[in-house]
């Protein structure tokens, strides 16, 4: 009996759960540090609900890790349709409520279905690429149906309006078709078309006020002047951390309330201020280890569906992390995209848990059934 448990533990892949826990630990300490002073606004207890969300997400991850990966393939389209339905529901309810709506409220729980939509998209694409000429290199024509699979939810979240998530779906899609051996010729052509039409649109197609509107459209909740201010405060926070940072709980930018949303979109800035360049190197290595481990898994599984699925899951988290870090440090304009496991937020964490569960399940199936 004991032997079996030892055997089981030896074969069970803890690397993803371990990675998740390590990043979460850094994240929750950082969250506590950046919000502990906010007794007035009631944010100082956020870290507690973040811990609650982590426990839930880790439990979900472990539960999913025991599911046979073939099940994911069987229910791939179902998952896609299901999440699509939720997004549609939010859209309809938002229209009824006469305003933008991203949340679905079920009793005491507020969900952001567009978070789960990313997983739905990845599942559906993985299934499609596995079934239809899996060996073929993708050309223009082969992109029509996958393009529709991606396009429908993208249009729906964009009219929510949530352009940030819409762009994310596009990026995730791009990385997946790249993995599915999109022809270099097509990549170059697509790149050229995108570049030229973008430049043409911007220079001739748009009037001055429309150009301005694009900036605000990226995130309608942030006015242009406001976001310019946030970006500068964010840079001051990061830069003032220098090599070693100001130390735990010592972020003056956060404590002075200069940085808005310092518990969601700007956590990375606070982390940089308190732990400096070396702290960030450490944190980025944690993320990189997680992503590399996923890519390695994707190239060493026996089933092609599993491989594409893992790449898809990896892209979700990669794009989130990269865009958030780039935006906070001033490389990209400010869009409201959270940093996985670091930013406060339940839906995002739960998505991460599901991803980790799927990866673990796929990894275990190699070890257990070999």
């Amino acid at each position: 009996m004991n032997q079996t448990i030892v055997q089981f533990l030896k074969r069970y892949d803890f690397s993803f759960l371990g990675s998740m826990s390590a990043i979460f630990l850094v994240g929750v300490l950082n969250l506590y540090s950046s919000t502990h002073a906010d007794t007035h606004g009631g944010l100082d207890l956020l870290y507690k609900s973040q811990i609650g969300w982590f426990i839930l997400s880790a439990t979900v991850a472990i539960a999913i890790s025991f599911i046979n990966p073939k099940t994911f393939e069987r229910f791939a389209y179902f998952g896609y349709i299901g999440t699509l339905f939720l997004v549609l529901l939010v859209l309809l309810m938002g229209k009824v409520g006469m305003g933008a709506q991203r949340w679905l409220v079920v009793g005491p729980i507020r969900m952001q279905p567009s978070e789960f939509m990313k997983l739905g998209l990845v599942l559906a694409l993985a299934r499609y690429f596995t079934k239809v000429y899996p060996e073929r290199q993708l050309g223009f024509k082969d992109l029509i149906i996958p393009g529709l699979i991606m396009g429908i939810p993208t249009v729906m979240v964009v009219i929510q309006p949530d352009l940030g998530t819409g762009l994310l779906l596009l990026f995730i899609f791009s990385m997946m078709i790249f993995y599915k051996r999109l022809k270099w010729k097509t990549i170059v052509s697509l790149g050229m078309i995108g570049l030229v039409s973008g430049v043409l649109m911007y220079n001739f197609g748009l009037r001055e006020y429309q150009k301005k509107r694009i900036h605000t459209f990226i995130d309608p909740y942030e006015d242009a002047k406001g976001s310019g201010y946030n970006a500068i405060q964010s840079e001051i926070a990061i830069g003032s951390g220098r090599l070693f940072g100001k130390g735990f709980k010592n972020s003056s930018q956060a404590s002075l309330s200069y940085l808005p949303e310092n518990h969601t979109d700007f956590v990375f800035a606070i982390f940089n201020e308190e732990h400096g360049f070396f702290g960030s190197v450490f944190l980025i290595i944690l993320y990189l280890v997680f992503f590399m481990r996923l890519i390695w898994l994707a190239s060493s599984v026996q089933r092609f569906f599993d491989s594409v699925l893992i790449i898809g899951i990896m892209s979700i988290f990669f794009w989130h992390s990269f865009i958030n870090m780039a935006m906070v440090s001033g490389l990209l304009p400010i869009v409201g995209i959270p940093l996985p496991l670091m930013s406060y937020g339940g839906s995002s964490m739960l998505t991460f848990g599901v991803g980790v569960g799927i990866a673990t399940s796929i990894s275990n199936s190699r070890n257990f059934f070999n």
Binding site: A37, R242, N272, G276, F322, A326
Partner: protein, 652 residues
Amino acid sequence: MFGEEELVKIHKERATLISYIITAAFGLVLARLWYLQVYKGETLHNYSIQNRLRKEVVWAPRGLIYSRDDQLLVDNIPRFDAILTPQFLLDKEETLAKLAKILQTDVASIEAIIKKNSNQARYRPFIIKKNISFGELAQIETQNADLPGISVDTFISREYRDKEIGAHLLGYISEISQVQLPKLRERDKTEYRLGDFIGQFGIEEQLDKYLRGENGHEFVEVDARGRRKRYINTDNLFKGIEDEKPLSGMNVKLTIDRDMQIAAYKALEGKVGGVIAVDIDSGEVLTMVSRPSFDPSQFSRGLTPEYWRSLVGNKEHPLRDRNIQEHFSPGSTFKAFSAIAAFEQGEIDEHTEIHCNGTFRLGRKVYHCWKKGGHGPVNLIKAIRESCNVYFQKTANRMDIDDISKYAKAFGLGSRTGISLPREVSGLIPTKEWKKKRYGQEWQAGETLSIAIGQSYVLASTIQMAISYAAIANGGKIYRPFVVKDIYDSEGELVKTFTPELLSEVQMKNPKTLKFVREGLFQVVNNPKGTAFYRRGQGILMAGKTGTSQVKSASADKIYQRCENMDYESRHHGLFVGFAPYDNPKIAAAVIVEHGCHGSSAATPVAEAVITQYMKKYQPEIYLKNLDKDKEIKDSWIRSLRASQPAEPSDE
């Protein structure tokens, strides 16, 4: 065909490429961080330590409120608070000693305030002294360098020029509380913040979205001690940051007349109650005053606990509005509608005579007239004039309650008038169906008798009574009462104007009905036997009806007990509703005086004062003419009554 494993294998190249892309992407982020943290690290570090850019809210000036005669009722006045930020407080003892000297207080009391606020974050400023004088302001500003951590907060205080007069109408503004915040955000779909001011009562609440304006912001550079240094405009780092000017709130012109408000307030001196007056041909509310009252300015400055206790602890509830947020038994003022119903239904005409011997027996119950011994033979005009209960009870006994209710409702009673002010009560006009629903019981015949004289279930507010009597005066037109005439933007451009809204018109079957009811109401005030004759005033030719609303139903032996001898809480409410001038009605007014005992002595003088003020100011020619008419009427009564005994300044 490829096997599954071959498929994975042929994609390995792309997987490797993806891992390069990811590494490069994070490499880019790290390079950027290196640039910010190492290359520009010193500069940015200095910014965060020494120079702080603070985004400060620039409050939008709230719109002003004017009366119909263009007098400023509500104004904004700058006030100053001395504030302290613990984080920047260096040389605590020395600073506090200096501060105590300026503010003419002692260090211990300042320490006490600091201690009270010690549980909040050290960077949050708090108020040391509210509303400091210009002298104190000047001293703090000039000694700025010696007072680290101390600064002055300017804010715009909302000042209500006539203080307690009309406070319930104008309302007040106060800070949004933690409890209100989520509710208000949901209600208005606006991102309010804690500490934002919002109208919480009256006009301030109702017109908040017009009055509020939009706050702007400015960027201020503050030094490490939190003191303002200079405005940002030169530094490259702060390029692209712009201030935003606030958008002033809109100014509002009311239908209310300030002089009438003052007259009403004075007339209610020493009384607990309310008066409301409306323009008969439009529904414009001219006066709306309730006493006891409160000073709304106190709310915008942040209530002191003492003031709050004095309001909440007051048994007479100064925060309660007696005109639209409370309803009462209308007592005999309701008889006008009993009369209209009976006349229209053909139960009575102007000649119908009913004998009143002081009591009316129905089954085992005896109903008393207020006049011991009775009024003798009574016709409609006498019944109204002398407020004979038996006349109305005997008439009502032959009628269906729903027929009486029908007419009362047609005149606007029993439902909200729709005045554009928050929390209006609906009053109550009972019907058989209502009783069945409410109590699950059948209507009792005796109950009709109580309703006919305005007691028991029937409830009405002064605004409802004023509007319904206005309809009696204008031939049945029910207007929606309104208090706002025009809204102007801060440039003076007219944004919105409110016009009279005719809600319905009562169709009278019998053209004589209103004529005789009006004649009765006229005699109430202008006939020596009328219940309000001794309070009739001069030059206003008022018509109206007094009323007494029983607070507790009196047992038979106490029915004729003098009201003034009862304990205060048990005394009747006194009411008066009327309109003027009788022959060319312009204004209707309704008055309630809680525990005032008599409508005539307590309530009528209030209406008289308000109406007199109105006539003098708005109808001076008619007023002068009516002074003569008044004299004629008086002389003729004196002549004809010289021999006979005048009525007592009576009850009812």
